[in-house]
């Protein structure tokens, strides 16, 4: 099946979200457009504070109290019907949460209630959405999922969170996210705070489970290796905007935005004949999102910037088939060297 034939599942239209702070409005997400198709893995990459998490929280309407929707909407398609998530009542969105869209937070190490057993989390989740299941049916299903995540299901279910290791908690959480067969699972930094071997294992398990079930993934990460391995599509975020959006191979081998180029180049290469000394990095720091000037936000840090970049914010250009970029000089960005 080609990608063009896939049905749209989630569509974010021109979404802008600001936080009300004592200093003024902080524009965390600015005019974001993003589409997630069925069975697709979308990776959101970018540095800390670029709005990735705010964007994902808004999908399930779990933003902080001081967040404010400025414009745009998020549409979710189910059985040919459109549900506008940004306009849903608290009662309706509760049904969507976890059953349709499961959002896993970054700090997976403290997402389990310390005073109740892991199995209670599974039971509570299912009962919140469908009271018809017996405890035993829920436990059986949880066991099945936990064994898929290569965990000793009985032990994990009867443990408290503090009795599990970091990697076990992360895997238990992934199992928990599939308990209601959601259509979209959002992983916010699924591998931070884990060692490299555990990261590897999590990625392998995610792939395995991806082959078995039909669902889409939105994965937030600053680990580009994970994005490269899992994602079909990559969206680069900078200063609250999606500055580049395209197929994984397009982004990784022929990035069109200087920021994507910088990010990919900043990954240290282990296998290299000649040691080139310094690691490459992107000089400078992201802009203040409270006073936004009308210019390309990346221009002060950009090697390719021209006069134009400081005058006006660039609009989206189409680079190739489903490859979009917000840059005036995208033609000047060189492809990534394939060293090995």
């Amino acid at each position: 099946m080609t990608k063009a034939m896939k049905k749209e599942l989630l569509k974010i239209n021109d979404l802008s979200i600001a936080y009300n702070t004592p200093r003024g409005k902080l524009h965390a997400v600015r005019n974001v457009n993003l589409t997630v198709h069925e069975n697709e893995v979308v990776a959101l990459i970018g540095e800390s504070g670029c709005g990735k998490t705010t964007l994902c929280l808004s999908i399930v309407q779990l933003d902080e109290d001081n967040a404010q929707l400025l414009n745009g909407e998020i549409n979710y398609y189910k059985d040919g019907e459109v549900k506008i998530l940004t306009q849903m009542s608290e009662r309706d969105i509760k049904i969507i949460r976890w059953q349709e869209i499961a959002l896993m937070f970054q700090a997976s190490q403290s997402v389990f209630n310390p005073v109740i057993k892991i199995k209670e989390h599974f039971i509570d989740t299912v009962k919140a959405h469908d009271n018809g299941y017996s405890r035993k049916a829920i436990i059986d299903k949880s066991k099945n999922l936990l064994s898929k995540m290569q965990l000793d299901a009985d032990r994990v279910l009867n443990s408290y969170a503090h009795e599990l290791s970091g990697g076990m908690k992360q895997r238990a959480l992934i199992a928990l996210s599939f308990i209601l067969d959601p259509k979209i699972v959002i992983f916010d930094e699924p591998t931070t705070a884990l060692d490299v071997l555990t990261q590897r294992k999590i990625i392998d398990l995610l792939r395995l489970i991806k082959e078995e079930y039909d669902f889409s993934i939105i994965i937030i990460t600053h680990d580009l290796a994970i994005a490269a391995e899992l994602a079909d599509k990559v969206a680069t975020m900078y200063a609250g905007q999606i500055v580049e959006n395209g197929k994984t191979e397009d982004i990784f081998y022929s990035p069109s935005h200087p920021y994507s180029y910088g990010l990919i180049n900043a990954v240290p290469k282990l296998i290299s004949d000649k040691c080139e000394g310094d690691l490459s990095s992107i000089p400078g720091s992201p802009p203040d999102l409270i006073d936004i000037e009308n210019k390309c936000q990346f221009s002060p840090r950009c090697n390719f910037a021209t006069e134009e970049c400081f005058r006006d914010e660039p609009t989206i250009s189409k680079v190739g088939e489903s490859h979009f970029v917000a840059c005036y000089n995208y033609k000047n960005v060189p492809p990534i060297r394939r060293d090995n």
């Binding site: 779990l62 049904i95 499961a102 937070f105 700090a107 403290s110 209630n113 310390p114």
Partner: protein, 311 residues
């Protein structure tokens, strides 16, 4: 022993009655049931031996009355007032603290938190004195006497009444215990409000509460199983620890309201250098603190699985 009451008594006999040292000592030891010729360590061992059998000796000031009898007579009153004060202040504090944690954007939240901070900074004896002044001394505008007849509210109950009088008696002990109880409540409630508010607020920010929301759990479920159970942990410990100070904390308040409980008895024993009574009461207070600490540990183990031993 500093200003040994036996020595004082012996000297008094010698100087005022002109009897010999030996005679005076034998009279003193007969009176105090002490064998003064025994070495101190043997006296101490015999005290411990008696203690194990529940015999804490006899009062020096009122010879012939056993210390245990005195404690038995005074203990219930202190337990009644300080205990009610603790329970009432904890319940009110939990309720107000939870309200102020959830309604942080309401106009009354700063009022609750602010008055809690102020009142928790006032020492309990000052609260007691204020109560006496406001209700028992000042004749408010347009009245011919103070709000409450504070003179007749002294003591633990009206003379002559007993448990057989039923409801009248219960109303009477509450009327007499009212001032100490209110003082204990006011002295502690601020601390409970602040503790509960802080604990609930910090629990609300926890990742597991946020994830429970992301999982679509109902608000009632989140509040009871995810927030309340965790927010209650420090409250339970604090409550158990405070139980230990129930008896010790009553010293000044009971004197202020002339409430004949254990604290006032201890104070009188100190004034009269009544060592056996002092020792007996201090022993009870110590035991109370030790046991409530133990209780706190047990409670914590029951509520928080992280403190349990691994199976």
């Amino acid at each position: 022993m500093p200003s040994n009451p036996v020595d004082i008594y012996v000297n008094e006999l010698i100087s005022s009655h002109g009897i010999s040292v030996e005679a005076a000592r034998s009279r003193a030891s007969a009176l105090y049931a002490l064998d003064l010729d025994m070495p101190v360590w043997r006296q101490y061992i015999s005290y411990l031996g008696n203690l194990i059998q529940g015999n804490m000796g006899q009062s020096i000031r009122s010879p012939g009355v056993r210390v245990s009898t005195i404690i038995r007579a005074r203990l219930p009153w202190t337990l009644f007032t300080v205990g009610s004060g603790l329970i009432i202040s904890t319940i009110l504090g939990i309720v107000l603290g939870t309200i102020s944690a959830f309604k942080r954007d309401k106009w009354y939240e700063p009022i609750i938190t602010g008055s809690a901070s102020i009142i928790s900074a006032i020492p309990d004896f000052l609260i007691g004195i204020f109560l006496i002044i406001f209700f028992g001394i000042i004749t408010w505008f347009g009245m011919d006497r103070p709000l409450l007849p504070i003179q007749s509210m002294r003591g633990t109950h009206t003379m002559g009444l007993s448990i057989d009088d039923g409801f009248t008696y219960i109303r009477d002990i509450f009327a007499h215990g009212m001032f100490p109880i209110i003082t204990y409540v006011l002295a502690q409630i601020g601390m409970w409000v602040l503790l509960m508010k802080g604990s609930t607020t910090s629990t609300l920010k926890k990742e597991y509460v946020k994830l429970a929301e992301a999982r679509g759990l109902s608000n009632t479920k989140i509040m009871s199983k995810y927030v309340a159970r965790n927010a209650f942990l420090p409250i339970a410990t604090e409550f158990a620890m405070r139980m230990g100070f129930i008896l010790g904390g009553s010293l000044i308040i009971e004197q202020l309201f002339v409430y004949e409980g254990l604290g006032l008895e201890l104070l009188n024993a100190v004034h009269g250098r009544d060592y056996p009574v002092m020792q007996g009461i201090l022993l009870i207070i110590t035991a109370c603190i030790v046991f409530s600490n133990l209780f706190a540990e047990l409670i914590y183990g029951a509520l928080d699985p992280r403190t349990r031993r691994g199976e």
